[in-house]
Symmetry: C2
Subunit: 208 residues, 2 copies
Amino acid sequence: MDNLDSQLRFVLEADRLKSVLRVSTLCDGSRRENSAEHSWHLALMATVLGQYAPPGTDLSRVTTMVLLHDLVEIDAGDLYVYADEAAHERQAAAERAAAERLFGLLPPEQGAALRALWFEFEERVTPDAIFARALDRLQPLLANYQASGRTWQANGITADQVLARVHLIEEGSAELGEYARNLVADAVRHGYLAPAPDTDSGESIHTG
Amino acid sequence: MDNLDSQLRFVLEADRLKSVLRVSTLCDGSRRENSAEHSWHLALMATVLGQYAPPGTDLSRVTTMVLLHDLVEIDAGDLYVYADEAAHERQAAAERAAAERLFGLLPPEQGAALRALWFEFEERVTPDAIFARALDRLQPLLANYQASGRTWQANGITADQVLARVHLIEEGSAELGEYARNLVADAVRHGYLAPAPDTDSGESIHTG
Protein backbone atom coordinates (compact mmCIF):
# COMPACT_ATOMS: atom_id res chain seq x y z
CA MET A 1 0.00 0.00 0.00
CA ASP A 2 3.05 2.27 0.32
CA ASN A 3 3.19 2.71 -3.46
CA LEU A 4 -0.50 3.56 -3.60
CA ASP A 5 -0.15 6.29 -0.98
CA SER A 6 2.65 8.00 -2.94
CA GLN A 7 0.78 7.61 -6.21
CA LEU A 8 -2.39 9.13 -4.81
CA ARG A 9 -0.39 12.01 -3.34
CA PHE A 10 0.86 12.66 -6.89
CA VAL A 11 -2.67 12.38 -8.32
CA LEU A 12 -3.97 14.91 -5.78
CA GLU A 13 -1.07 17.29 -6.34
CA ALA A 14 -1.75 17.10 -10.09
CA ASP A 15 -5.21 18.54 -9.44
CA ARG A 16 -3.55 21.94 -9.07
CA LEU A 17 -2.83 22.04 -12.82
CA LYS A 18 -6.54 22.86 -13.26
CA SER A 19 -5.80 26.25 -11.67
CA VAL A 20 -2.86 27.18 -13.92
CA LEU A 21 -4.15 29.60 -16.56
CA ARG A 22 -2.65 29.88 -20.03
CA VAL A 23 -2.62 33.00 -22.20
CA SER A 24 -4.87 31.34 -24.80
CA THR A 25 -8.64 31.29 -24.46
CA LEU A 26 -11.21 28.59 -25.20
CA CYS A 27 -12.28 28.47 -28.85
CA ASP A 28 -15.37 30.56 -28.03
CA GLY A 29 -13.19 33.21 -26.36
CA SER A 30 -15.27 33.01 -23.17
CA ARG A 31 -12.35 32.60 -20.76
CA ARG A 32 -8.68 31.67 -20.52
CA GLU A 33 -7.86 28.01 -20.87
CA ASN A 34 -6.21 26.11 -18.01
CA SER A 35 -3.29 23.74 -18.51
CA ALA A 36 -5.19 20.60 -17.44
CA GLU A 37 -7.95 20.97 -20.02
CA HIS A 38 -5.32 21.98 -22.61
CA SER A 39 -3.47 18.70 -21.88
CA TRP A 40 -6.72 16.75 -22.31
CA HIS A 41 -7.29 18.43 -25.66
CA LEU A 42 -3.80 17.45 -26.85
CA ALA A 43 -4.32 13.83 -25.78
CA LEU A 44 -7.60 13.75 -27.70
CA MET A 45 -5.78 15.20 -30.73
CA ALA A 46 -3.13 12.47 -30.47
CA THR A 47 -5.97 9.93 -30.71
CA VAL A 48 -7.81 11.60 -33.58
CA LEU A 49 -4.87 12.93 -35.64
CA GLY A 50 -2.52 9.97 -35.16
CA GLN A 51 -2.58 9.13 -38.87
CA TYR A 52 -0.53 12.29 -39.59
CA ALA A 53 2.34 11.20 -37.34
CA PRO A 54 5.44 9.82 -39.10
CA PRO A 55 5.47 6.02 -39.48
CA GLY A 56 6.79 4.32 -36.35
CA THR A 57 5.44 6.97 -33.97
CA ASP A 58 4.23 5.35 -30.74
CA LEU A 59 0.94 7.17 -30.13
CA SER A 60 0.53 5.70 -26.69
CA ARG A 61 3.84 7.31 -25.61
CA VAL A 62 2.81 10.57 -27.32
CA THR A 63 -0.44 10.51 -25.34
CA THR A 64 1.32 9.98 -22.02
CA MET A 65 3.79 12.75 -22.89
CA VAL A 66 1.08 15.31 -23.57
CA LEU A 67 -0.84 14.28 -20.44
CA LEU A 68 2.28 14.99 -18.35
CA HIS A 69 3.97 17.78 -20.25
CA ASP A 70 2.55 20.74 -18.32
CA LEU A 71 2.57 19.33 -14.77
CA VAL A 72 5.74 21.32 -14.01
CA GLU A 73 3.64 24.48 -14.36
CA ILE A 74 2.10 23.68 -10.96
CA ASP A 75 5.31 25.11 -9.50
CA ALA A 76 6.71 27.11 -12.42
CA GLY A 77 3.55 28.67 -13.88
CA ASP A 78 2.80 29.02 -17.58
CA LEU A 79 5.05 31.14 -19.79
CA TYR A 80 3.69 32.73 -22.97
CA VAL A 81 5.36 31.14 -25.98
CA TYR A 82 6.29 34.61 -27.32
CA ALA A 83 8.11 35.70 -24.13
CA ASP A 84 11.78 36.71 -24.55
CA GLU A 85 14.74 34.37 -24.39
CA ALA A 86 15.83 35.31 -20.85
CA ALA A 87 12.32 34.55 -19.57
CA HIS A 88 12.43 31.18 -21.36
CA GLU A 89 15.76 30.35 -19.71
CA ARG A 90 14.49 31.20 -16.23
CA GLN A 91 11.38 29.15 -16.96
CA ALA A 92 13.42 26.12 -18.04
CA ALA A 93 15.35 26.14 -14.75
CA ALA A 94 12.14 26.48 -12.72
CA GLU A 95 10.56 23.61 -14.66
CA ARG A 96 13.52 21.29 -14.05
CA ALA A 97 13.21 21.92 -10.30
CA ALA A 98 9.46 21.35 -10.51
CA ALA A 99 9.99 18.04 -12.31
CA GLU A 100 12.30 16.88 -9.51
CA ARG A 101 9.74 17.71 -6.86
CA LEU A 102 6.60 16.48 -8.61
CA PHE A 103 7.83 13.22 -10.13
CA GLY A 104 9.72 12.72 -6.86
CA LEU A 105 6.36 12.21 -5.13
CA LEU A 106 5.98 8.89 -6.97
CA PRO A 107 7.63 5.54 -6.16
CA PRO A 108 11.25 5.96 -7.38
CA GLU A 109 11.16 3.73 -10.46
CA GLN A 110 7.85 5.08 -11.72
CA GLY A 111 8.86 8.68 -10.95
CA ALA A 112 12.10 8.29 -12.91
CA ALA A 113 10.27 6.83 -15.91
CA LEU A 114 7.68 9.63 -16.06
CA ARG A 115 10.31 12.31 -15.43
CA ALA A 116 12.31 10.88 -18.37
CA LEU A 117 9.22 11.07 -20.56
CA TRP A 118 8.68 14.70 -19.55
CA PHE A 119 12.32 15.48 -20.37
CA GLU A 120 12.03 13.72 -23.72
CA PHE A 121 9.13 16.03 -24.59
CA GLU A 122 11.20 19.07 -23.56
CA GLU A 123 14.26 17.99 -25.55
CA ARG A 124 12.22 17.36 -28.72
CA VAL A 125 14.71 14.96 -30.31
CA THR A 126 12.83 11.65 -30.62
CA PRO A 127 10.05 11.23 -33.24
CA ASP A 128 7.44 10.75 -30.48
CA ALA A 129 8.46 14.03 -28.82
CA ILE A 130 8.57 15.91 -32.13
CA PHE A 131 5.00 14.83 -32.91
CA ALA A 132 3.81 15.61 -29.37
CA ARG A 133 5.31 19.10 -29.61
CA ALA A 134 3.66 19.63 -32.99
CA LEU A 135 0.26 19.01 -31.38
CA ASP A 136 1.18 21.39 -28.55
CA ARG A 137 1.81 24.14 -31.14
CA LEU A 138 -1.21 23.37 -33.30
CA GLN A 139 -3.84 23.43 -30.53
CA PRO A 140 -3.49 27.10 -29.48
CA LEU A 141 -3.27 28.11 -33.14
CA LEU A 142 -6.66 26.49 -33.76
CA ALA A 143 -8.12 28.11 -30.64
CA ASN A 144 -6.73 31.56 -31.47
CA TYR A 145 -8.11 31.36 -34.97
CA GLN A 146 -11.56 30.32 -33.66
CA ALA A 147 -11.51 33.19 -31.16
CA SER A 148 -10.80 35.65 -34.03
CA GLY A 149 -7.21 36.17 -32.89
CA ARG A 150 -7.96 38.14 -29.75
CA THR A 151 -4.94 36.73 -27.89
CA TRP A 152 -2.64 37.71 -30.76
CA GLN A 153 -4.10 41.19 -30.87
CA ALA A 154 -3.97 41.68 -27.08
CA ASN A 155 -0.27 40.79 -27.12
CA GLY A 156 0.69 42.58 -30.35
CA ILE A 157 1.75 39.34 -32.06
CA THR A 158 2.33 39.50 -35.83
CA ALA A 159 2.22 36.83 -38.53
CA ASP A 160 6.01 36.46 -38.76
CA GLN A 161 6.16 35.53 -35.06
CA VAL A 162 3.46 32.90 -35.47
CA LEU A 163 5.06 31.52 -38.65
CA ALA A 164 8.43 31.26 -36.88
CA ARG A 165 6.80 28.58 -34.68
CA VAL A 166 4.96 26.76 -37.47
CA HIS A 167 8.14 24.85 -38.36
CA LEU A 168 7.63 22.96 -35.05
CA ILE A 169 4.36 21.67 -36.50
CA GLU A 170 5.85 20.95 -39.94
CA GLU A 171 8.66 18.91 -38.43
CA GLY A 172 6.13 16.73 -36.59
CA SER A 173 3.80 16.29 -39.56
CA ALA A 174 3.89 17.62 -43.13
CA GLU A 175 0.07 17.60 -43.42
CA LEU A 176 -0.56 19.35 -40.10
CA GLY A 177 2.20 21.85 -40.90
CA GLU A 178 0.65 22.69 -44.25
CA TYR A 179 -2.73 23.12 -42.58
CA ALA A 180 -1.21 25.44 -39.97
CA ARG A 181 0.58 27.56 -42.58
CA ASN A 182 -2.67 28.03 -44.51
CA LEU A 183 -4.52 28.88 -41.30
CA VAL A 184 -2.02 31.66 -40.51
CA ALA A 185 -2.46 33.10 -44.01
CA ASP A 186 -6.22 32.92 -43.53
CA ALA A 187 -5.97 34.63 -40.14
CA VAL A 188 -4.10 37.54 -41.76
CA ARG A 189 -6.69 37.71 -44.55
CA HIS A 190 -9.52 37.90 -42.01
CA GLY A 191 -7.74 40.56 -39.96
CA TYR A 192 -7.39 38.22 -36.94
CA LEU A 193 -3.60 38.50 -37.08
CA ALA A 194 -1.52 41.52 -38.13
CA PRO A 195 0.84 40.93 -41.08
CA ALA A 196 4.60 41.00 -40.52
CA PRO A 197 5.78 44.59 -40.01
CA ASP A 198 7.44 46.07 -43.11
CA THR A 199 11.09 46.08 -42.01
CA ASP A 200 12.17 48.27 -45.00
CA SER A 201 10.23 51.21 -43.56
CA GLY A 202 11.90 50.78 -40.19
CA GLU A 203 8.45 50.25 -38.63
CA SER A 204 8.16 47.66 -35.90
CA ILE A 205 5.52 46.38 -33.52
CA HIS A 206 6.58 45.57 -29.99
CA THR A 207 4.87 42.88 -27.99
CA GLY A 208 3.08 44.04 -24.89
CA MET B 1 -7.21 16.58 -46.77
CA ASP B 2 -10.93 15.66 -46.51
CA ASN B 3 -10.26 13.47 -43.50
CA LEU B 4 -8.26 16.21 -41.81
CA ASP B 5 -11.08 18.72 -42.20
CA SER B 6 -13.59 16.39 -40.50
CA GLN B 7 -11.12 15.48 -37.78
CA LEU B 8 -10.37 19.11 -36.98
CA ARG B 9 -14.08 19.88 -36.90
CA PHE B 10 -14.38 17.16 -34.24
CA VAL B 11 -11.35 18.54 -32.34
CA LEU B 12 -12.90 22.02 -32.30
CA GLU B 13 -16.31 20.73 -31.26
CA ALA B 14 -14.64 18.83 -28.41
CA ASP B 15 -13.42 22.16 -27.03
CA ARG B 16 -16.96 22.72 -25.71
CA LEU B 17 -16.45 19.99 -23.08
CA LYS B 18 -14.34 22.56 -21.19
CA SER B 19 -17.57 24.47 -20.53
CA VAL B 20 -19.57 21.53 -19.14
CA LEU B 21 -19.54 21.82 -15.34
CA ARG B 22 -19.76 18.82 -13.02
CA VAL B 23 -21.26 18.80 -9.52
CA SER B 24 -17.84 18.02 -7.97
CA THR B 25 -15.34 20.75 -7.18
CA LEU B 26 -11.56 20.88 -7.54
CA CYS B 27 -9.69 19.32 -4.59
CA ASP B 28 -9.22 22.78 -3.05
CA GLY B 29 -12.97 23.44 -3.30
CA SER B 30 -12.33 26.71 -5.19
CA ARG B 31 -14.75 26.04 -8.05
CA ARG B 32 -16.70 23.32 -9.84
CA GLU B 33 -14.71 21.01 -12.05
CA ASN B 34 -15.38 20.83 -15.79
CA SER B 35 -15.64 17.57 -17.70
CA ALA B 36 -12.53 18.16 -19.84
CA GLU B 37 -10.15 18.60 -16.92
CA HIS B 38 -11.89 15.69 -15.15
CA SER B 39 -11.17 13.52 -18.21
CA TRP B 40 -7.52 14.61 -18.15
CA HIS B 41 -7.28 13.65 -14.49
CA LEU B 42 -8.67 10.17 -15.21
CA ALA B 43 -6.18 9.64 -18.05
CA LEU B 44 -3.35 10.65 -15.74
CA MET B 45 -4.69 8.21 -13.14
CA ALA B 46 -4.73 5.41 -15.73
CA THR B 47 -1.02 6.11 -16.29
CA VAL B 48 -0.06 6.31 -12.63
CA LEU B 49 -2.38 3.64 -11.14
CA GLY B 50 -2.13 1.11 -13.97
CA GLN B 51 -0.46 -1.48 -11.72
CA TYR B 52 -3.77 -1.95 -9.85
CA ALA B 53 -5.66 -2.97 -12.98
CA PRO B 54 -6.35 -6.71 -13.42
CA PRO B 55 -3.70 -8.57 -15.47
CA GLY B 56 -4.38 -8.27 -19.18
CA THR B 57 -5.91 -4.79 -18.95
CA ASP B 58 -4.92 -2.70 -21.98
CA LEU B 59 -4.06 0.64 -20.38
CA SER B 60 -3.77 2.38 -23.71
CA ARG B 61 -7.43 1.49 -24.46
CA VAL B 62 -8.42 2.52 -20.93
CA THR B 63 -6.73 5.89 -21.50
CA THR B 64 -8.53 6.49 -24.79
CA MET B 65 -11.84 5.49 -23.18
CA VAL B 66 -11.52 7.98 -20.33
CA LEU B 67 -10.40 10.73 -22.72
CA LEU B 68 -13.61 10.20 -24.74
CA HIS B 69 -16.10 9.09 -22.11
CA ASP B 70 -17.67 12.47 -21.33
CA LEU B 71 -17.75 14.02 -24.83
CA VAL B 72 -21.46 13.20 -25.10
CA GLU B 73 -22.07 15.75 -22.31
CA ILE B 74 -21.44 18.49 -24.88
CA ASP B 75 -25.01 17.82 -26.01
CA ALA B 76 -26.48 15.97 -23.03
CA GLY B 77 -24.95 17.87 -20.10
CA ASP B 78 -23.61 16.28 -16.93
CA LEU B 79 -25.94 14.33 -14.63
CA TYR B 80 -25.15 13.97 -10.93
CA VAL B 81 -24.35 10.36 -10.14
CA TYR B 82 -26.92 10.38 -7.29
CA ALA B 83 -29.81 11.55 -9.52
CA ASP B 84 -32.87 9.25 -9.64
CA GLU B 85 -33.37 6.37 -12.04
CA ALA B 86 -35.77 8.18 -14.37
CA ALA B 87 -33.25 11.00 -14.80
CA HIS B 88 -30.54 8.42 -15.55
CA GLU B 89 -32.73 6.84 -18.24
CA ARG B 90 -33.44 10.16 -19.93
CA GLN B 91 -29.73 10.93 -19.75
CA ALA B 92 -28.78 7.62 -21.39
CA ALA B 93 -31.05 8.34 -24.36
CA ALA B 94 -29.67 11.87 -24.74
CA GLU B 95 -26.10 10.53 -24.60
CA ARG B 96 -26.75 7.95 -27.31
CA ALA B 97 -28.04 10.68 -29.61
CA ALA B 98 -25.03 12.84 -28.73
CA ALA B 99 -22.65 10.00 -29.57
CA GLU B 100 -24.27 9.65 -33.00
CA ARG B 101 -23.84 13.33 -33.73
CA LEU B 102 -20.34 13.86 -32.28
CA PHE B 103 -18.56 10.73 -33.50
CA GLY B 104 -20.46 11.23 -36.76
CA LEU B 105 -18.32 14.32 -37.38
CA LEU B 106 -15.30 12.06 -37.95
CA PRO B 107 -14.41 10.03 -41.06
CA PRO B 108 -16.83 7.04 -40.92
CA GLU B 109 -14.38 4.28 -39.99
CA GLN B 110 -12.67 6.32 -37.27
CA GLY B 111 -15.98 7.62 -35.95
CA ALA B 112 -17.39 4.09 -35.67
CA ALA B 113 -14.28 2.87 -33.80
CA LEU B 114 -14.36 5.70 -31.25
CA ARG B 115 -18.12 5.45 -30.84
CA ALA B 116 -17.70 1.73 -30.10
CA LEU B 117 -15.07 2.54 -27.48
CA TRP B 118 -17.45 5.05 -25.86
CA PHE B 119 -20.22 2.43 -25.82
CA GLU B 120 -17.86 -0.15 -24.33
CA PHE B 121 -17.20 2.26 -21.45
CA GLU B 122 -20.94 2.76 -20.96
CA GLU B 123 -21.73 -0.95 -21.04
CA ARG B 124 -19.02 -1.78 -18.48
CA VAL B 125 -18.63 -5.43 -19.46
CA THR B 126 -15.04 -5.75 -20.70
CA PRO B 127 -12.11 -5.65 -18.22
CA ASP B 128 -10.81 -2.42 -19.82
CA ALA B 129 -14.18 -0.71 -19.32
CA ILE B 130 -14.56 -2.01 -15.77
CA PHE B 131 -11.18 -0.53 -14.82
CA ALA B 132 -11.91 2.75 -16.64
CA ARG B 133 -15.22 3.09 -14.77
CA ALA B 134 -13.47 2.35 -11.47
CA LEU B 135 -11.20 5.36 -12.07
CA ASP B 136 -14.23 7.47 -12.99
CA ARG B 137 -15.77 6.62 -9.57
CA LEU B 138 -12.56 7.02 -7.59
CA GLN B 139 -11.61 10.49 -8.83
CA PRO B 140 -14.61 12.47 -7.47
CA LEU B 141 -14.38 10.50 -4.21
CA LEU B 142 -10.79 11.72 -3.78
CA ALA B 143 -11.78 15.29 -4.68
CA ASN B 144 -14.81 15.32 -2.36
CA TYR B 145 -12.73 14.04 0.52
CA GLN B 146 -10.05 16.70 -0.11
CA ALA B 147 -12.73 19.41 -0.24
CA SER B 148 -14.02 18.22 3.18
CA GLY B 149 -17.17 16.72 1.65
CA ARG B 150 -18.85 19.96 0.71
CA THR B 151 -20.52 18.47 -2.40
CA TRP B 152 -21.92 15.59 -0.33
CA GLN B 153 -23.23 17.99 2.30
CA ALA B 154 -24.72 20.41 -0.24
CA ASN B 155 -26.64 17.53 -1.82
CA GLY B 156 -27.59 15.69 1.38
CA ILE B 157 -25.65 12.56 0.37
CA THR B 158 -25.07 9.94 3.11
CA ALA B 159 -22.42 7.25 3.49
CA ASP B 160 -24.71 4.41 2.36
CA GLN B 161 -25.26 6.18 -0.98
CA VAL B 162 -21.52 6.61 -1.50
CA LEU B 163 -20.78 3.02 -0.46
CA ALA B 164 -23.43 1.73 -2.87
CA ARG B 165 -21.13 3.02 -5.69
CA VAL B 166 -17.85 1.77 -4.20
CA HIS B 167 -18.47 -1.71 -5.62
CA LEU B 168 -17.83 -0.16 -9.07
CA ILE B 169 -14.31 0.60 -7.84
CA GLU B 170 -13.85 -2.80 -6.16
CA GLU B 171 -14.83 -4.63 -9.32
CA GLY B 172 -12.17 -2.72 -11.27
CA SER B 173 -9.43 -3.15 -8.69
CA ALA B 174 -9.36 -4.81 -5.26
CA GLU B 175 -6.66 -2.42 -3.96
CA LEU B 176 -8.36 0.75 -5.17
CA GLY B 177 -11.69 -0.53 -3.85
CA GLU B 178 -10.23 -1.17 -0.41
CA TYR B 179 -8.68 2.29 -0.42
CA ALA B 180 -12.04 3.84 -1.37
CA ARG B 181 -13.94 1.95 1.34
CA ASN B 182 -11.47 3.16 3.98
CA LEU B 183 -11.70 6.70 2.64
CA VAL B 184 -15.49 6.69 3.03
CA ALA B 185 -15.17 5.49 6.64
CA ASP B 186 -12.59 8.22 7.24
CA ALA B 187 -14.89 10.84 5.71
CA VAL B 188 -17.65 9.83 8.13
CA ARG B 189 -15.19 9.93 11.06
CA HIS B 190 -14.11 13.47 10.08
CA GLY B 191 -17.70 14.63 9.68
CA TYR B 192 -17.24 15.26 5.93
CA LEU B 193 -19.99 12.74 5.12
CA ALA B 194 -23.13 12.00 7.14
CA PRO B 195 -23.49 8.38 8.29
CA ALA B 196 -26.28 6.23 6.86
CA PRO B 197 -29.64 7.28 8.34
CA ASP B 198 -30.84 4.93 11.07
CA THR B 199 -33.72 3.19 9.29
CA ASP B 200 -34.96 1.60 12.54
CA SER B 201 -35.88 5.00 13.91
CA GLY B 202 -37.77 5.83 10.73
CA GLU B 203 -35.47 8.81 10.21
CA SER B 204 -34.35 9.59 6.67
CA ILE B 205 -32.39 12.20 4.81
CA HIS B 206 -33.64 13.32 1.43
CA THR B 207 -31.27 14.49 -1.29
CA GLY B 208 -31.65 18.11 -2.35
